[in-house]
Amino acid sequence: MSEPQLAVETERLAKTYLDRATKEPVHALKELSLSCRYGEIYGLLGPNGAGKSTTLRILSTMLAPSSGWAKVDGLDVREEPLEVRRRIGFLSATTGLYARLTPRETLQYFGALHGMEPAALEARVDELLDAFRMHEFADRRCEHLSSGQKQRTSIARAVLHDPPLLILDEPTTGLDILATGDMIEFIEARRDSRRCVLFSTHVLSEAERLCDRIGVIHHGRLLASGTLAELREDTGEEWLDGIFKALVRRAEAGSATT
């Protein structure tokens, strides 16, 4: 291995699907090219409906790209979906828990789905219960947990198999201040030379605080990608909201002339 592999790489990724109600084609993604390295936290920033969820769903092999390709840890998501899924931990935007399972059982169930050996699984579950301070409610049914406890259970589930890539779709949406703080701490704690966190958000302050690099996405296109400093330099704006507006203006002017 001469060059370290990229955690995520997409090339001209597009997704067109049919709207079920109107039967119209919807271009959720248009030629999105993106790369994330190991050791960085990458934030995908954009308004609702920009294509963030679609990108993350393609990377987690939920959806197949209409054209272009996407690779996770060097593996094509379309050709080796199961191998890709082994390497990712995915927290969807609407993530929920099985109401009638306890956190411990939830972890055991997903560990079994990952094919973990019972003894190793048992040890790993105990380790996670420690790490996320879950012992107190580990054997209570998920339907009786508080939202913070549920969130810790979901995160523990996502990192159960210690994936090199963590994909989080709007991880702080709908959380209260305390839980949001916990989540931000958790993401920061994952910063590691052999790991990558890719998350989407429309909260600018989160992106400013957490991200090594930021990708700005709008109407299914990646308008810009880089460190906060690079984006500031590129647009001449100080804060992300200004940067975002400047990028949108530039894109619209560009599409008007071509």
Partner: protein, 698 residues
């Protein structure tokens, strides 16, 4: 690290999924109680309760002590003695008081007894604690002596009285009469005969039939209700609680996930069924209630096993259908809303088995649920016919296998995750609505104007109806649809998937283009002609079947029509009753109307097919032929869609009608021979090829 999952892996993972699903399911105590346990307990309890109530009522009537005032003074002494002896021999709660009831006798002796006064008498008698009066009138003017019973039939005493007294008295009167005849005429006893019947069927067969008649229905209902709760929880529930995406992002093949969930649904359905049958058998054998079919012998293990085997593919099919149904729903509520229609369909398909005279034949054997239900019944009764039963088993196995092959679709992420967009644009809706309106107006016109024309002159009225009204409506609609076509709905991917785009030309508006080449359509039309006799057989079958389940007052009187048509030659008949409707009705229903409905991008395939078939059935204005005209309309529509043009439907419709005309006129032609079924093969084979795409015109 990079190992590919083999089939062993898939099975192992499916079992992991099934285990997890079971664990969740079994903790939902309320649902299990309602869906599995309650049906097991409820219906023996219900049977038991109804039985107990019944016998309680019976006993009350029997135990009631009823007092009757009796005045037999009008009878000759020997006769009065015989009556007394007969009535007093019964010690079942009726006692008689001998007394003079002259007032009532006076009333009864008048020619037309005053009912009001009789009522008064009955009431007075009740006041004296008599439930009724038994009054004898003397022989008079050649009329024999008479016994009158006055009682209040609305009261419980009256009901008891009538059952205890009327029967014995009638019997006595009959006996005395025949004795007298025999004595006077010295009659030969051989002028009449004694009648006794003996059912030679072994009790095992009789009881098996009784049990087998209602078991399929119970099986279908219990399988549906038992499996539904698991299906809703594992499919719709997964979507509602937001765990679906998490599950789908695990390194498990989708097929393993779907199989795991399916196994849970199957197991729950079977558990509910077995629990139900066991509770039924147990409570019957404990003597809690009498069950026809579970007498001393019962149907026997061999028959139960055979019936179970015949029904097994259907169990698999029902569970798979539940999964598909539940997977379509986004929430528990939506899934539950799908359940009632599914139950109705299931019950309807299983119900033929309840009618003892519906025979399992080769055609019914092909119908899902219905065929296996009949086979199950016959297996219990011990008169299973092997060929149709094998066909029922085979066909339901094929349906089940097809359903299982598609089971992974239940978890198709592309479909489940696609979010509906808020803005609604309904391409082609105007065209579709115009088609619906025109179809309904055309039917009304055929009823009113067509009926009037045909009453003037049957033959020319029919010609005018078909070639004037029906064809006119078709052409008008096609032109209107062509002119009114929207621009927004061109070249939509959805339409490409259906193979139906916006209307491009008048030919397209009537579906008379020939996509896929002229030779293909000629071949299709020819094979349709060969398929017609078998379909005509199936049609007769269907009419028969409908009349069994929807018994209607006698059919329309076709005598005058038949007489009016006797003068016509065979070619004229064929032209009038086969070719004319074949062309004109197809141009309207499968041509203009169906095409217009298809033009609506949102419509899909099935709703347009069903609508046009329904209107087609209504136009034939005969409820006796409702099932057959609807089915024919559906078949013709499906064939038109599949072949891409109308020619096949025209040929089939004309040939189908011609079969009826020819059977009538040419008795030597045997169109009812089973070998005609082979004639359906070419058409079926040709239709296996997908709908050819029309070249889009600029």
């Amino acid at each position: 690290m990079s190992r590919r999952p083999g089939s062993g892996d898939t099975l192992r993972l499916a079992l992991v999924v099934a285990k997890g699903e079971f664990r969740r399911l079994l903790r939902d105590k309320k649902a299990i109680l309602l869906a599995v346990v309650l049906p097991i307990l409820a219906y023996p309890a219900f049977l038991l309760a109804s039985q107990k109530l019944n016998s309680l009522g019976q006993r009350q009537i029997e135990e009631r002590e009823v007092l009757v005032a009796r005045d037999l003074g009008g009878l000759p002494a020997p006769l009065a003695e015989a009556v007394r002896a007969r009535l007093d021999a019964r010690d079942e709660g009726v006692r008689f008081d001998e007394r003079e009831i002259a007032g009532a006798r006076e009333v009864l002796e008048t020619k037309a007894p005053d009912k009001e006064r009789l009522r008064d008498w009955a009431e007075d008698a009740r006041g004296e604690a008599y439930a009724g009066l038994l009054v004898a009138l003397a022989a008079k003017d050649g009329a024999p002596p008479a016994l009158h019973l006055v009682f209040d039939g609305a009261g419980e005493d009256g009901i008891a009285l009538s059952t205890q007294v009327l029967g014995p008295l009638r019997q006595l009167a009959d006996e005395l009469e025949s004795e007298a005849y025999a004595a006077r005429l010295g009659a030969d006893p051989a002028v009449s005969f004694a009648f006794q019947s003996f059912d030679a069927a072994p009790p095992k067969d009789r009881q098996g039939l009784a049990l087998g008649r209602f078991l399929p229905l119970i099986a279908v209902l219990v399988l549906l209700s038992g499996g539904a709760f698991a299906a809703i929880d594992t499919f719709a529930g997964e979507r509602e609680q937001g765990t679906l995406e998490t599950l789908l992002s695990q390194p498990v093949p989708t097929i393993a996930l779907a199989w795991g969930k399916y196994l849970v649904v199957l197991a729950t359905a079977i558990a509910a069924w077995i629990g139900n049958v066991v509770s039924l058998v147990l409570s019957a054998s404990l003597g809690l209630f009498d069950l026809p079919g579970l007498g001393v012998e019962g149907p026997g293990t061999a028959r139960i096993l055979l019936a179970g085997l015949v029904f097994l593919p259907t169990v698999v099919l029902i569970s798979a259908s539940l999964c598909f149904l539940a997977a379509r729903a986004r929430s528990f509520r939506e899934a539950q809303a799908y359940l009632l229609p599914a139950t109705l369909v299931g019950a309807a398909l299983a119900s033929p088995a309840a009618a003892a005279d519906v025979q399992l034949d080769l055609l019914l054997a092909l119908v899902p649920l219905a065929g296996p239900s009949l086979a199950l019944r016959d297996a219990f009764a011990g008169n299973l016919q092997w060929l149709p039963a094998a066909l029922a088993f085979l066909s339901s196995s094929v349906y089940a296998a097809l359903a299982l092959r598609r089971i992974a679709v239940t978890l198709d992420a592309e479909r489940l995750l696609a979010s509906p967009s808020p803005k609604g644009m309904d391409a082609g809706a105007d065209t579709a609505q115009r088609s619906i309106r025109t179809a309904l107006v055309a039917v009304a016109a055929v009823y009113l104007a067509g009926g009037w024309l045909q009453s003037l002159d049957l033959v020319w009225g029919l010609v005018a109806t078909l070639w004037g009204l029906v064809l006119g409506a078709a052409l008008w609609l096609a032109r209107a649809n062509l002119r009114g076509r929207g621009t927004a709905d061109r070249a939509l991917p959805a339409n490409a998937a259906r193979g139906v785009g916006p209307i491009t030309s008048l030919k397209d508006a009537l579906q008379v283009c020939t996509p896929g080449g002229v030779s293909r359509h000629v071949a299709l039309a020819l094979s349709a002609v060969f398929a017609a006799p078998a379909l005509a057989q199936a049609g007769r079958h269907l009419v028969e079947l409908q009349s069994r389940f929807l018994p209607l007052p006698g059919g329309a009187d076709l005598e005058p029509i038949a007489r009016a048509l006797e003068s016509l030659s065979l070619p004229a008949l064929v032209a009038l009753f086969a070719i004319s409707p074949g062309i004109t009705e197809e141009l309207l229903f499968r041509g203009a109307v169906l095409r217009g409905l298809f033009a609506r991008a949102r419509a899909g395939i099935l709703p347009p097919l069903v609508f046009q078939a329904a209107v087609f059935a209504v136009m034939h204005a005969s409820i006796h032929r409702l099932a057959i005209t609807f089915s024919l309309g559906l078949l013709l529509g499906a064939i038109t869609y599949r072949s891409g043009a109308l020619w096949t439907a025209i040929a089939l419709h004309a040939a189908y009608n011609a079969c009826a005309v020819l059977t009538d006129r040419v008795p030597t032609l045997d169109l009812a021979h089973p070998l005609w079924w082979l004639g359906t093969l070419p058409l079926a084979l040709l239709l296996l090829r997908p709908r050819p795409a029309l070249r889009a015109r600029p």
